[in-house]
């Protein structure tokens, strides 16, 4: 049974790494957070009930660890990283520009919205699992994802404060427009 616990933990590591990046927005801090969360999980493994939702249990540990680290380092060096995907070698200049814009916009989202968005869109978690992982109601989890999507849409497809549209905004609007079904 213990062996299964460790196997589940190793299997979940790639997702934990992405989720840690959602929380910290910084690669080095994300790696440290995963390391700390794994150490906490190993120390607390006897409190996990086999057969229950391991991913939700582990995400809660990651989240709690992040919150406690944040409290200790209130004024941390807040250097935000863009994921390597924004610098993809094979992508066109236009694609890279749009991805960078998306990465920056995602980093601007409130933490709880970015966290829920990543869980649903990147991890494929259900709203019920998001709620269980983050200690909120299912309706709150749905609302956070909804608001994150519409906020990103407003930033990436809307006009900026000066009334001008950036190149990335024009591109996103065009690409999304092309994806719409013809009336």
């Amino acid at each position: 049974m213990q062996s299964e616990f460790h196997t589940q933990l190793i299997t979940l590591l790639p997702k934990l790494r992405v989720q840690a990046l959602a929380l910290t927005r910084n690669r080095a801090a994300a790696e440290d957070l995963v390391q700390d969360a794994v150490a906490n999980a190993l120390a607390a493994q006897d409190s996990f009930t086999p057969g229950t939702n391991f991913a939700a249990w582990m995400h809660r540990i990651l989240r709690n660890r992040f919150i406690s680290t944040l409290r200790k380092q209130r004024e941390t060096t807040d250097i935000e990283d863009l994921p390597a995907g924004a610098f993809a070698v094979g992508a066109t200049h236009e694609d890279r520009m749009v991805l960078k814009e998306l990465g920056r916009a995602v980093n601007r989202l409130p933490n709880d919205q970015r966290e829920a968005l990543f869980m649903v869109v990147l991890q494929g978690m259900s709203y019920e699992d998001v709620a269980a992982s983050t200690g909120c109601a299912v309706g709150t989890a749905k609302s956070r994802v909804f608001r994150a999507r519409r906020q990103l849409q407003a930033w990436l497809m809307g006009e900026n404060r000066t009334g001008e549209r950036s190149g990335a905004t024009e591109t996103v609007t065009r690409v999304v427009g092309e994806a719409r079904p013809l009336a």
Binding site: S3, A86, L117, L122, V172
Partner: protein
Amino acid sequence: MSNSDRKRRPQDTPDPRKSPRSEVDSAFDLWLQRGLHQLYDGVAAEPIPAELLALIEKDRTRKRT
């Protein structure tokens, strides 16, 4: 719209009940999903640090003995 009308409507005809606004929202959500995967799938695919795996394996061995 009756049930029979709904059945007759071809798959590629836009649903008249769906507003242009919700079509844009759906298209954006699809684009967002692709964009987020492009940005972050590489992070998930990176090799796990050896020291982290060693930490887990060490604990696994300790629990077995």
